[in-house]
């Protein structure tokens, strides 16, 4: 698996260089099968906006990120990017500098905060041009003037029409301005163990399993059967994102933390399932949680997106369920997403044209996106590309027993609704799960656990009150 990946990456680099010769941005714009009206509008407004953009004066393009993911995407898929060393590259005459800080202990955000706050007074070569954000804290940056609205870069709605709406919800500020763009659309669903499904539900067909977990009450009924058969459904932390993506209000309203009904439902459902031995309280990524990747772990399923089954189920390892093609994929009780990286342009960038081109190429160019989908196994942010992948056999996956999950992935991505995000989501979600674990494990009553959560939130966000 590892070797295969490496050679794939090598191939990707080669193809990218070959494309470079043809000039990928030209090809892409002629290929775009958008409706005529929109296309002309797009070109018009893009032209207008392009005039407004000042000429690039920056000699250095500073990109802030927490890992190497975007760097390798840019290296492989952006024509004209050449790598100099591990933290430097070149696009034409412009030096690209990668400022990568790990997100451990919040170091990435601390570092980025300082850089952005000093943006105005920073020397031209030190100004942040592009920074990357994750959905959980995107609004912290997007809902400020430090991130540029895409329309100010001359990127139009038409340019972005093929993206999934939820990926734009995440980076839309409180005034409705879109301020970031992603090449990924990580809609996620329920990945189930086919053997266990046959044993418990009498079928492993994705549609029929979907019917058994179509909403939370059916899911809970199924979980009871799963527990009877000596399995566990999954961890309460697996289902958390599904609930928390489908809330009816924001975490913080008028400066006060509010626990949504769907979140409360997660608490009550989970407690019942944990007490009935139908779900575990394992932390994600831990050894206990990972044991379900093997049949003897007796876990019915995981919740996860495409990257999850491609990279987290250990298909290359003898004895895993994935190795035998034993997983199936269905949408699950509610649609949700998990993961993804958003590209934001920093206000004050002196390379606006280059930043615009990078965002357009990496997140809207269908040729590039399809390339990313096939070479890097990202589930890309393009309705057209996902439809193409769903319709042919290239999307069939051995580890899913030959199932092509792209239809479900696309269906899920359409349904995700993230209009209720707040800038406090990262802290609230983390602290809520941590606090509730005490309740699930019997170390606290529900009220005590809720108090613990509120205490943690006030510590983390002194401007928020709780009761």
């Amino acid at each position: 698996m590892k070797k295969r990946l490496v050679s794939l990456l090598a191939m990707a680099t080669m193809t990218a260089t070959m494309f470079a010769a043809c000039g990928s941005s030209d090809t892409a714009s002629t290929e775009t099968p958008a409706t005529d009206g929109a296309a002309t509008e797009a070109t018009d407004s893009a032209d207008d906006a392009a005039v407004e953009l000042p000429e690039d004066t920056g000699k250095v393009l500073n990109i802030y990120g927490w890992n190497e993911e975007f760097k390798s995407r840019l290296t492989d898929h952006y024509a004209g990017y050449t790598e100099v060393d591990s933290t430097h590259g070149k696009i034409g005459d412009v030096d690209v500098v990668w400022n990568i800080t790990p997100s451990t202990d919040n170091a990435y955000q601390n570092n980025l905060d300082e850089a952005l706050l000093a943006q105005e007074s920073a020397a031209a070569d030190d100004k942040v041009d592009i920074f990357l954000v994750e959905a959980d804290y995107a609004l912290k940056y997007v809902d400020t003037d430090y991130a540029m609205a895409l329309k100010d870069l001359g990127i139009t709605d038409a340019d972005l029409a093929d993206q999934y709406k939820y990926t734009q919800d995440i980076v839309t500020d409180s005034n409705g301005n879109l301020k970031g763009s992603s090449w990924q659309a990580c809609s996620a669903g329920f990945i189930y163990n086919r053997e266990a499904a046959k044993e418990i539900l009498g079928t492993d067909d994705p549609d029929e399993v979907q019917a058994a977990v179509a909403d939370w009450s059916k899911y809970n009924e199924t979980a009871a059967k799963v527990a009877e058969a000596g399995y566990k459904m999954c961890s309460v932390n697996d289902t958390y994102r599904v609930y928390s993506n489908n809330v009816s209000g924001k975490w913080v309203q008028d400066g006060k933390v509010v626990i949504d009904k769907n979140i409360e439902k997660w608490v009550d459902d989970s407690k019942e399932l944990v007490d009935a031995n139908a779900e575990t309280t394992d932390d994600l990524w831990g050894d206990d949680w990972a044991k379900g990747k093997r049949p003897e772990g007796k876990i019915f399923g995981y919740f996860g997106p495409a990257w999850f089954f491609n990279f987290c189920l250990d298909a290359d390892q003898d004895g895993t369920i994935a190795n035998k093609g034993g997983w199936g994929y269905c949408v699950g009780p509610q649609s949700y997403y998990w993961g993804g990286t958003w590209i934001c342009a920093a206000t004050g960038t002196d390379n606006a044209n280059l930043v615009k081109d990078i965002i357009l190429t990496m997140t809207t160019d269908k040729a590039v996106l399809k390339d990313i989908a096939q070479k890097d196994a990202d589930c890309v942010n393009s309705k057209t590309v996902l439809k193409e992948l769903a319709s042919d056999d290239s999307g069939n996956l051995d580890l899913l027993g030959g199932q092509n999950p792209y239809a479900q992935l696309a269906e899920g991505a359409e349904k995700v609704d993230l209009s209720n995000l707040s800038a406090y989501d990262q802290g609230c979600n983390e602290e809520f799960q941590k606090a509730m674990k005490n309740y699930f494990q019997g170390n606290a009553t529900k009220d005590e656990a809720l108090d613990m959560f509120k205490k943690a939130i006030v510590e983390k966000y002194p401007d928020v009150t709780a009761d």
């Binding site: 494990q441 170390n443 966000y461 002194p462």
Partner: protein, 312 residues
């Protein structure tokens, strides 16, 4: 009591002669003081200054600084968490320190006991400090793996019949505190032993020989010679360990993923302080720091007085 140290007395008698050299005392202090003032005193002063302000960041928006007097100090006292985290810290420190100091003294005594003539001493002495070479984060990672619900310790305990089903080490206050203490003890007992040994090696071996000739037992030698002569180093070990204990952070932080769970029974003072650093809450963190400073000062003073008074 310890005649060797009394040479110091001679120093007092020669006071007048020494005066002209004494300017060198100041000169030798310059590097320390200059560096200290720049890199510690200025940050510390700003910490204390900040404790009287409302001053934090919400996202990218800076709130304050607005002068609030002793409001931050009141907040910390009224929410009542401080005694709890202090208790946690002390419990985990004592759980780790007692075995650590006993083990260190025992090993020190064995290594310096001439009648025992232990073989492979160099090997043992070298090995005991080794756990400290591993980063706390890596160490905690390994502990995590070993004590996971489906980890090797649990399967072992189930196999030999101690437990019927996996014991969740991370969800019981006792076991989490115990693990933190074990890790701290394991990481630091070598350090302590080395400190004590360096002190013991400073003791004139002829003292031991003389005692042996007089028919003293190993116990007598240890209590009557080694221990008293070790007092300065022991005081150092006690105080630094106490301060290190009050500053306990990385092991419980990593082991509990920053939560101090279950129900914050393993949350230490610095972990609590660290929570305020998330929002760059200079105000509350500053006030908390001042409290910590006072607590540490009082405790260290007690230890210092206690160990010094024994001398007379």
């Amino acid at each position: 009591m310890c005649p060797i140290l009394k040479i110091k007395g001679a120093f007092m008698a020669k006071k007048s002669k020494v005066v002209r050299y004494n300017k060198w005392g100041y000169i030798f202090l310059i590097p320390f003081l200059v560096v200290f003032i720049i890199f510690q005193l200025i940050p510390l002063a700003s910490t204390i200054y900040n404790s009287f302000f409302e001053n934090y960041r919400s996202g990218l928006t800076q709130i304050g600084p607005n002068f609030v007097g002793i409001e931050n100090y009141k907040t910390i006292i009224t929410n009542g968490d401080l005694p709890l985290y202090f208790k946690n810290t002390m419990i985990m420190w004592i759980l780790g320190f007692v075995p650590q100091i006993v083990l260190s003294l025992l090993l020190g005594a064995w290594f310096t006991d001439p009648s025992l003539r232990l073989k492979c001493q160099t090997f043992f002495k070298t090995v005991i400090y080794m756990p400290n070479l591993i980063m706390a984060s890596a160490f905690a990672m390994l502990f995590f793996t070993l004590f996971a619900d489906s980890g090797p310790i649990n399967s072992l305990l189930i196999q030999i019949g101690v437990f019927k089903e996996a014991f969740q080490f991370m969800s019981h206050a006792g076991s989490v505190r115990g693990l933190v203490a074990t890790m701290n003890c394991l990481m630091w007992f070598g350090n302590t032993t080395i400190l004590l040994m360096a002190g013991m090696m400073g003791i004139d071996p002829s003292l031991f020989e003389a005692a042996q000739v007089d028919g003293a037992t190993a116990n007598q030698i240890f209590y009557k010679i080694t221990l008293p002569l070790l007092r300065p180093i022991l005081v150092f070990v006690m105080i630094t360990s106490l301060i290190g204990g009050l500053q306990m952070f990385d092991v419980p932080q990593i082991l509990t993923n920053g939560t101090g769970d279950p129900m914050r029974t393993s949350m230490t003072l610095i972990m609590y302080l660290n929570k305020h650093l998330f929002s760059k809450n200079f105000g509350l963190a500053g006030a908390l720091s001042v409290y910590m400073f006072v607590i540490t000062g009082i405790l260290s003073l007690i230890v210092y007085k206690f160990t010094n008074s024994e001398k007379n």
